[in-house]
Amino acid sequence: MKGNRIVENGQRRLTIVSYVVTIVFLVLGLLPLVWLFITSIMDNNSIDSFTPKFVPKVPHSISITLDYSGMDNNDPQFYEKDAMKATWFPWMAHMKENIGEITVTGVKDGHELYRAKTIAAQFYVGQPFIVPTQIFKDSIMAQRLPQIEDRKLSEFTWYGQGDAVSISGGSNITDEPLSQQLAYFFDKRDILDGKLVVLQQSHNWWRLFDSYLSLNYLALQSAGSFGFYQYFINSFIVCIGVIAWQLVLGGMGSYAMSQLVANKKIRFSLLMYFLATIMIPGVSILIPQYLFMQKLGLLDSLWAIMLPHFAWGFVMFLFKGFFDQLPKELLQAARVDGASEFSTFIRIVIPMSIPVFTIVAVLTFIPVWNDFLWPYVVTKSQHSWTFTVALNDLQNSKNPRPNWISAGGVISMIPLLLVFIGTQGAIEKGINFSGIKG
């Protein structure tokens, strides 16, 4: 015998195989998530390419200065239109070039007149209706300008008589192919009212994450001022509502069933009343529930998504399993001291039952957050969509961009990830005392 542990024949090999198998499964499980993240920051050009790219390229930042010296016009609208022409037309013509942002600065008589900035998040959201074709005309931009302002697709700041700027003579156009192409485009098309004096090119790392910003502009009109993020907020509200109900009223009901109902027969029939509903699958009561919500006039509201989740037999079962084990002496002692049932529940039961409340909260959060069929059926207008419905709609839209969908996917998993990592211990404990899967 060597040492105090005996190493058996084959133990070493089993250990090595165990590590290998575990790591292989972990890598297989995590690879799709890595790919999800990579596609979410992939530039639009690589996303469209026929051979998948694995390393995202940092997009180009273009900065343009236009000189209006000697022009009489003082209408900001006129200049904004010119800035938009200098932004949207060349971008559309060079959509394959991985442009990340275009900044246009207007200068008049040595002073800054305006500044307009458009980022890829805004351009790709707006492109299908602002510049759908390769026709670049002044009249088109005049028509589309209200839409750009309305959907906040470009930031335009008017200075009038701003800081003094000096433009040195000579060539101010960067010597890179893209800059040269853009300069040639302006030269040939002759669409601008101002005179192109500077065209510079650089890189901005932040533009890699523009797909996350795109979500902000995507549903701006239909969903509200948070854009696509409104859907995540909706999902969150639904989850909070359901969890609150389960913890407070579900907990109180199970506690009463477990500790306050003395008659065994009544207690058993109550348990069966709650537990039997586990057998009723959601899809089986889809139609009656839908018709019921219609009767209540709740269709198309967050209430309709929330309410059916209040009745979960599994939660009552989990709670009861825990409350049955509470020490009876302690509860009796509280009653001897003259505490009412309600304050016994608040002061004694809840502090002792934090683990079960955690588990119920987590096990409620996951399925409600993931829920798709019910919100899909019960909502029509976009302001009450949850993110699952919105993501499904995004893939069916006319111009689905995989990097937008992936960005939505990454964001949708963050809350669950935090919850899981934060409560892993509680979940494992819950598995031990519930015995069945949630």
Binding site: P32, M279, G282, V283, P308, Q424, G435
Partner: protein, 305 residues
Amino acid sequence: MENQRELQLFETNQKRSRSRKKIRWTPILFLLPSIIVFFVFKYYPIFDAIYISLFNYDIINPPGRFVGFGNYEEFLGSETFWIAMKNTFIFLILSMAIVFWVPIVQALFLSNIRRFNGMYRVLYQIPSVLPIVAGVLLWKWMYNPDRGLFNYLLGKIGLGPYGWLNDLHMTKLAIVLPGFFASGGVGMLLYYAAIKSISSEIFEAAKIDGCGPWRRIGMIILPNITFVILIQFIGFMSGVLLSFDNIFVMTQGGPADASLVVALMIQKTAFVQSRFGISAALSFFMFIVIVILTVIQFRLQREEE
């Protein structure tokens, strides 16, 4: 001692007070919200589903014409229903072959690892954290015949190109496959807990009898967790029978009904074709199937206890 006497005293007191006022309101108040909610959102709808299923339901003028079991006869006689049943059966077989065993194997090997065990358990949870809809959309993008990752990678080793979701014969496999990658999750933790709860005495006895570590997997661990596997299997079956989200987002039942299942039929007949009666009949059919499975599960669980 004194405590006990006090308790007895209290109990007799309570008994007296209970007989004085017959109804105790607190438990009723505590239970009432749950009882109402369960009635309104579970019991009423399932009876309503049965009721609707007996009518040629008219949504504007409910309930419409009474047809008795006509709706049941109609769906049992329709070809689509049997296609959906056949598809469900194939999904079940495929899921068992590709997904069901994975968490068992993961837990078996994980239980042999001592170092960083907690970390591995957390890492195993991460893939299952991605919401189904988001996961399906990611896979749909990877399956893209022209621009997807799979055809690209398989092309590198000289395979393909495959049609994946557009291919009648591959759709089902393509829908089940993501489950293999995201199958860890709570199920794995459950098996792990079951393995860890096997008493160490059994292991020691086996060791002394000369049963090596590999043989112990087959002779001790697996027989001891058979029950958990069985319970999980029944839950897994009802999960596959009821699966809607992944199929709907991936293919909507297509191409040409190749991935149509009963859950999808329920949604389609009601909300696309507006035939609520037939949809309710299908709903009730699903309910019966799940009831049978759950009763079996409960029976088994009670036997074990």
